[in-house]
Amino acid sequence: MSDYVPPRSREQVADLHFMDARYKLLDLAAFLDRLDRAAGGDDHRVRGLRAALPLLLEKDEGRVARILTLWSDPSVTPIEKADTKAASGVWPGLK
């Protein structure tokens, strides 16, 4: 648990952060619309994004951790060799 969190109401949190969350949600909607206007199917990153959306509506705290975990490589041993230096943002094996 935190050492100390100043008490605040949900209204105060909304006053501080609602507009920020609002524009980010609209940006996400616009991104999904943009994908629809483009040719081809979803790649694994977009599939991961879509798979995460229901987690936003869960009631328990910890949504960020659950989304990051969903997108994570679940294996536990080192791989023999990598074919890239870069990470894509979503584990390619996510179904």
Binding site: M1, S2, H17, V64, A65, D73, P78, E80
Partner: protein, 271 residues
């Protein structure tokens, strides 16, 4: 407000950034060795880089009144080449004598490969041999959770490393609790897109005991913000955190961790 920037790649920033950081209240900067954006072809490239970190950058920072410290290693993105890694590791002891070197870092993993693991273990061994602190880079994005666990396992398997002398950097919501629960320090890196934003960082701070946590910008040649630590402090301020709590997080905590090296001098004690 005063703060420490405990992780900034200043070799890839302009002097304007030093000026802006000093104006924002920065009191000291620490710079871990990292990937230049391309693979260096020989140990000579690292020799020059270590000279830059230990000789040139402290002078550049001093022009803005900022003490500059560094950490040395070959980063995990260049660790696939085991022969190159061996040559670079052989260089490091000479540079550990420099008065501003704080330890070995940022070591860790990138894609969680076997070779990266071997070089990580060699770095840990070097740190133990020379009684150095360790700064850990955890992998990006989907590789972070697995890599963080492999790194902590390697540190514990060494048997000699003291967790309180290790900072595991770039933690996020799915790794911070494990890192702190195992006794390590945790670094939250504030990036505009990847890793954590200042707002999410403050959310994390509000959900853990933050006595072993620091914030850093890890500003480099990519999309990053050298003023992200004071921006996180501003986010704390507007949420109602006290000036003392903010100071403890952005100044007191890094000073507490870094002062485990006798080379690091608390800027407040020098004033």
């Amino acid at each position: 407000m005063r703060y420490i920037e405990p992780h900034g790649h200043m070799v890839s920033r302009t002097t304007d950034d030093y000026q802006a950081m000093a104006l924002a209240g920065c009191a000291a900067i620490c710079e871990p060795a990292f990937w230049a954006g391309f693979d260096r072809k020989s140990a000579d490239g690292f020799y020059d880089y270590f000279c830059q970190l230990t000789q040139i950058e402290p002078k550049r920072a001093a022009k803005y009144g900022l003490p500059h410290y560094s950490w040395l290693c070959i980063n995990p993105k260049e660790s696939e080449d085991m022969a190159l890694a061996a040559d670079v590791l052989a260089l490091i002891p000479e540079f550990l004598k420099a008065p501003t070197v704080l330890g070995i870092g940022e070591i860790g993993l990138n894609k969680n490969t076997r070779n990266e693991m071997k070089v990580l273990e060699q770095h840990i061994g070097l740190a133990v041999q020379y009684d150095q602190m360790i700064l850990v880079h955890t992998p990006h994005l989907e590789d972070k959770r697995k890599g963080t666990r492999l790194i902590m396992d390697a540190l514990k398997a060494n048997g000699v490393v003291k967790p309180e002398r290790v900072i595991i950097d770039h933690v996020e919501e799915h790794t911070i609790h494990e890192v702190l629960d195992q006794g390590f320090w945790a670094g939250i890196t504030l990036y505009p897109e990847s890793k954590s934003t200042p707002v999410r960082a403050v959310d994390m701070i509000e959900s853990v005991s933050a006595q072993r946590v620091w914030l850093n910008s890890a500003c480099d040649w990519g999309h990053s913000d050298p003023l992200s630590v004071p921006k996180a402090a501003q986010e704390m301020r507007r949420r109602g955190h006290s000036a003392a709590a903010i100071d403890r997080l952005v100044y007191g905590n890094p000073v507490k961790f870094l002062s485990q090296s006798p080379r690091f001098k608390d800027p407040a004690a020098q004033a």
